[in-house]
Symmetry: C2
Subunit: 578 residues, 2 copies
C-alpha cells in the first residue's frame, strides 16, 4: 500500500476527549474515528488489525473444534422474554420495533438466539458436544462509553456457545476454551490471567474473566501472594479477622448517644474504637418485586452488591434504596435498624460472628444500643458472605495475603449449566436411551476492539504504537527518504520485490514531505519493521533496517532484503507463538 | 471437516413457506435457518460460502484500488436529516433511540456515514480520487421479505463509495467499478448485464443494475434485439408509435356517452377503436407537500411513476391518489379531467402528440369530449416521457424491438455526483488553487446473501445444489461408503493427505447411515468434486471420482489423488477466471 493513497492519515493532535493512551494513539495514527460517542469507524489501518485479530481467534477456535456461523443482529424480543432477561439491570439493552410492529432487541450477547437456532434441529447425543461461535456486531447501551475502543457501545465480538451432554463433558470444554483463550491472547502479545468472576446477567454458576493487567483496567481483582487464588472483587472470598471473640458477652443496653454521631467515622471518634466494633446497615430495593433487603455487616467492611444479589436470588435486580423506600419502613438514612423492621429481608455478613459486644443496630435521634451480640440479640434470615474483599485481607484458608490489582477484561468464559436449557422450551437432545435431556451449556466471549486497545495500551512508547507483528496492519514500513529518481525507483523495486514475496508493506512514497515527518509517522503508526531507502544508504549499496522496538539500525544488502525481512518477521513472530 | 461433527445437517423437507428453489435447497442442505421473517442465520456451510464471496469481492475491489474500512451499524439520525432522507417513501428505514435519547437509524445504505467520516479529514486534491468500501450488516424494513436470502430484512452488503475531483475523473472510476463488478460476478459463476436503472432514494442522476437473468428475478428490464440498449423498466425509453397523425384535426365536441362506459376496455368496446385513441388520467399525491399531480397519457400506455417522480422532482414522494384526494379537486375515480382541475400539476406523456382526435379528457356521468387534440384543446405543464416501456415496443431510434426480460439485481452502481456533497456541510477538498470544492461521488453495492441465492438459482438440479468451485463451502466431498475398518482407515488417510495439501474437504464418515443417504446428502449440499471410498473401489486399488455436474465416474489411483484433485480444482476454477 502506498501511503500517499492510504485513506486515513496521521494527524498531530488527538481530540481533547481522548484521555487514554490507546484512544489517543489509534486516533492520531489513523486507525479509528468516532461517529457518535461509543460508535467507531475502523479506518483501513484499523480494519487490517481487526482482521488479523479475527484470523487468530478463528484459527485457535477452529483448532479447538469450534465451528463458525452467524446469527442475525436483530434478536426477536420474545426470545429475551422467554428467559426474562429484558428487565435485568446492568444489561444495556436497546429495544426497537419494525414497521409491522415486531419487537426486537439489538443483541449484546446471543445465548437466546443460539439456543433458538439449536432447538430447530433434532439433536441426538451423538451430535454433542459441540461449540459454535460467531463474529458479529454487538450493542451495549452504556450510559458512559469509555476511551476509544476500550468500552464502546457498538463493537465486534467473538461469542461462542458450547453444548454438552452433562457437567463432566462440559468441564473439559470449559478448560479447552480457557486454554484457547490464553493462546489467543498470547498470539496478540498479551498475557492474560484467569480471574474467577461473576456470571452477572449471563446466568450460570461460575465464570472467569481473562484479564490483562493494566493501570487503566476496570476489572479490579484480588490475587493471593502465592498467586494461587485470583478472583474478581465481585466474588473474591476472604477470611474475616477475629476482633474480640475472647470478650465475654456483656448485657445489651440502650444508651444515650449525642446527636452528632451519624457516620461510621463519627462512631469511631465518639467511642474511640475501630470501625470493626460497630454495626452497619445498607438497604437495597429489588427493582422487580420492590422488596427491601437490609444488609447487616461489621462497620469496617463494605457490602458487595453482587454477592448479596446471588444470596437473595436477584441477579441484576438490586439498587440502593432511597429515602422514599426507607419511609415505607418508617425510617430514614442513618436510622435503619439491624432488626425489627417489618416486611424486609435481613441478610447478615459472616463478619457479624467475628466480633462481640457490637455498638449500633438500633440508633434513634439520641440513643443507640451497645453490647449487641449476633445470635443472642438479633438474627438475620441468612448469615453468609456479602462483603467486598480488599487489599491486605487474608485468603479464606488464612494463609495468604490478598493484593488488589487492576486489569482489562480481554475475554470471558461462563459456565451456563442448564440456565438457558431450563428456561427455553425444547432445548433438549435425545439421549442413548431415547429420553429427552436438557443440554449443559457454556459461553465464551472476546471483544475485538477492546483487545486492539489493550494491545496498544501495552505496546507503545512516547512516539507511538509498537505493534506485535501478529496483529500489525502491515509487517513492514518502507520509507523513501528523499524524492529523487534514484531513491524512488529503488524503493519501488523493493516494494514490488517484498510484496511479490508475500510480505505486507506500507510504502511511504510521499513527495514534499520531510524525512522527519516520515519518521514521525512511521513511529506513530508502529509497524514493527522499518526499511529506509536514502541516498546515504544507497551510496553504501544498502538499505537501512530498524525495528520499531529497538534503537539500533542495520544496513542490509539489497540482494539479502527478502531473506532478512523474512527472518525478522519470523523472529518477531516466534515470540508470540503458542 | 467431519460431517458427523458438522453443525447444521441436511433435512428432507423444506418449510412450506419456501417457494423459491434457492430458499428450499439452502434450507434442506443446511446452509441457512430463518430467525424471524427476513432475518437469517448462516450455518457453518452457509458462512463458508459467504466468506468465499467476501474474499472474491475483496480481491477484486482491492485490485481496483479500493480500500476497506468499516462504519458503525447505528447511524446518527441527524445525518439522515441533513440529507432529508428520513422521509423518503420506499426507504425502509428503522429508527430507534438509545437510553440517553440519541436517535439512530439502522443503516440500509451508508452515504451519509461515509461522507461524515470523509469530512473529518482535510482532503486535498492530491488525496483524490479514492474509493472506500465495507462489508457490513444492512437493514431494510421491507413489508414483505422474500424467499430466503433473495430479499432479506437484514443482510451483509459490500458498499463502496468513490470520491473524485470532477465528473471526468469519476467516470473512469464508474467504468472501473462496472468492470470490477462484472468480474466479481463472473468469479461467482454469474453472468451479469449492465442495466441502466433508476437512482431512487440513493440520489444522483444515473445508475446501473448488474442483473443476472432469472425467471424469478424482480428486476424487469428491456433489451433491444441488437443487445445494445438495456434498461430497467423504471427508466427504459422507447419510441411511441404514431397512431393517426395523417388525420385532420376535427372539431372538438362534447357528446353523450352511455353511463356504462367506465374503463379503458369499455371505451374501446363502445367506440370500436383501439385504446390508443383515448385519453387516460392518473392522479398522484406528493406525500410531503400533498400536492396533486395528474399524469395524462395515451390510453394504451401506462404511467411510469419513477419517471413521473423525476419529472416533478419528487423522488420517492408520490403515491396514487385516493378518493379523499380526488374530493379535494371535486371529482372521483373515473371522472378526472385532462385539464381545468385547479391547484394541480398536469404532466403529459409524449404519446399525446402521436395521436389526433382523441376521445375522453372531460368525462361526466353522461357526456365526454371527442376530437381532442393536444396543443389545440389542452396543454400540460410539461410534455415529457412518463410512460412504461413494454415488450414489443421500439427503441427510441425506431430501429430495434425491445424485449422484456427478468433478472436478479446482483449489484448496483450509482452516479451520485454532487448529490451528497451539496447537501452535507464541509464535504469538500482543497483544490490546487487553494479553493474549496465539493467532491464528485459514486456508490457501488453488492448484497452478499442475494448473490448466494442467485448462484443457487442458477446452479442446481433436481437433486440439489451444484456449487461453482470458487464459492463452494468445501472443494471436495469425501464419502466413506461403508463403515468397515479398511474403508474408514483409507478414507482418513485420504482426508489427512488432501487437507495437508491445502484442499478443503468435507468428509462424510458417518456410521449407521446408508450409502444412498450419503449420496443424497452429497448431491444436496452440492460440493463440485466427490470422492467415494468403498470396498469395491479399493478392490480395484482406486477411489471413485465424480463431478457433481457430470454423470460419469472415474477410478483414480491412490498415489495420484492429490494431483488429480488439484487438476480438477484448477480446471473448474479456470472456467470462472476473469
Amino acid at each position: 500500500m502506498k501511503y500517499s493513497k492510504l485513506f486515513g492519515k496521521t494527524v498531530r493532535e488527538a481530540p481533547t476527549s481522548a484521555s487514554i493512551t490507546s484512544h489517543k494513539l489509534l486516533y492520531q495514527a489513523g486507525f479509528i474515528r468516532e461517529s457518535t460517542s461509543g460508535h467507531y469507524y475502523l479506518l483501513p489501518l484499523g480494519l487490517r488489525v481487526n482482521q488479523k485479530i479475527i484470523q487468530i481467534i478463528k484459527e485457535e477456535m477452529d483448532k479447538a473444534g469450534a465451528q463458525e456461523l452467524v446469527t442475525p443482529v436483530l434478536h426477536p424480543i420474545e426470545l429475551w422474554e422467554e428467559t426474562k432477561r429484558t428487565s435485568t439491570v446492568n444489561l444495556e439493552l436497546t429495544k426497537l420495533k419494525d414497521r409491522r410492529g415486531t419487537g426486537y432487541v439489538l443483541g449484546g450477547t446471543a445465548e437466546e438466539m443460539i439456543v433458538d437456532l439449536v432447538r430447530k434441529f433434532q439433536l441426538s447425543y451423538k451430535d454433542l458436544p459441540f461449540n459454535i461461535y460467531q463474529f458479529s456486531t454487538k450493542f451495549r447501551d452504556e450510559f458512559r462509553a469509555r476511551g476509544g475502543l476500550l468500552r464502546a457501545r457498538e463493537f465486534t465480538m467473538k461469542d461462542a456457545y458450547s453444548f454438552s451432554r452433562d457437567e463432566k463433558e462440559f468441564e473439559k470444554e470449559y478448560k479447552k476454551m480457557a486454554n484457547t483463550y490464553i493462546n489467543i491472547f498470547k498470539r496478540f502479545g498479551l498475557e492474560a490471567k484467569m480471574v474467577l468472576a461473576d456470571n452477572g446477567y449471563i446466568g450460570g454458576e461460575y465464570a472467569h474473566e481473562l484479564v490483562v493487567d493494566s493501570v487503566i483496567g476496570e476489572s479490579r481483582y484480588l490475587e493471593s501472594d502465592d498467586g494461587k487464588y485470583i478472583a474478581h472483587e465481585d466474588v473474591a472470598k476472604f477470611k474475616r479477622d477475629e476482633i474480640n471473640l475472647d470478650e465475654k458477652e456483656k448485657k445489651f443496653e440502650i444508651i444515650k448517644q449525642p446527636e452528632w454521631v451519624q457516620t461510621m467515622d463519627d462512631f469511631a471518634k465518639h467511642y474511640k474504637l475501630p470501625k470493626s466494633h460497630f454495626l452497619k446497615n445498607v438497604v437495597y430495593r429489588n427493582i422487580t418485586t420492590n422488596e427491601l433487603i437490609i444488609a447487616v455487616i461489621r462497620g469496617d467492611l463494605e457490602v458487595n452488591k453482587v454477592k448479596l444479589e446471588h444470596t437473595v436470588d436477584a441477579v441484576g435486580q438490586l439498587i440502593e434504596a432511597n429515602e422514599e423506600d426507607l419511609k415505607k419502613i418508617h425510617t430514614k438514612t442513618g436510622y435503619v435498624h439491624s432488626w425489627d423492621h417489618k416486611g424486609v429481608t435481613y441478610i447478615g455478613d459472616l463478619s457479624l460472628k467475628t466480633a462481640k459486644n457490637l455498638i449500633g443496630g438500633q440508633k434513634e435521634e439520641k440513643t443507640d444500643s451497645i453490647n449487641v451480640n449476633y445470635g443472642r440479640d438479633f438474627k438475620c434470615e441468612k448469615l453468609t458472605d456479602i462483603a467486598i474483599a480488599k487489599d491486605g485481607y487474608i485468603t479464606e484458608d488464612g494463609k495468604h495475603k490478598l493484593k488488589t490489582k487492576k486489569g482489562i477484561e480481554a475475554g470471558n468464559i461462563f459456565q451456563l449449566g442448564y440456565h438457558y436449557s431450563k428456561k427455553m422450551k425444547g432445548a433438549t437432545y435425545v439421549d442413548k436411551d431415547g429420553s429427552l435431556k436438557q443440554y449443559y451449556m457454556g459461553c465464551y466471549g472476546i471483544g475485538l476492539g477492546r483487545n486492539i486497545a489493550t494491545i496498544v495500551e501495552k505496546y507503545n512508547d512516547e512516539n507511538g504504537i509498537i505493534w506485535p507483528i501478529s496483529v500489525s496492519p502491515y509487517q513492514m514500513h518502507l520509507i523513501s527518504l528523499e524524492e529523487d529518481k534514484n531513491v524512488l525507483e529503488k524503493s519501488e523495486k523493493i516494494y514490488r520485490l517484498l510484496t511479490d514475496n508475500g510480505i505486507e508493506v506500507l510504502w511511504d512514497e510521499r513527495k514534499g514531505v520531510s524525512a522527519g515527518v516520515k519518521f514521525h509517522d512511521a513511529d506513530l503508526i508502529g509497524i514493527p519493521i522499518r526499511l529506509v531507502v536514502s541516498n546515504k544508504s544507497l551510496s553504501q549499496n544498502g538499505i537501512e533496517l530498524k525495528l520499531r522496538s529497538e534503537q539500533k539500525t542495520d544496513i542490509i544488502k539489497f540482494e539479502n532484503i527478502v531473506n532478512t525481512i523474512k527472518v525478522k518477521i519470523s523472529d518477531l513472530g516466534n515470540q508470540l507463538k503458542v
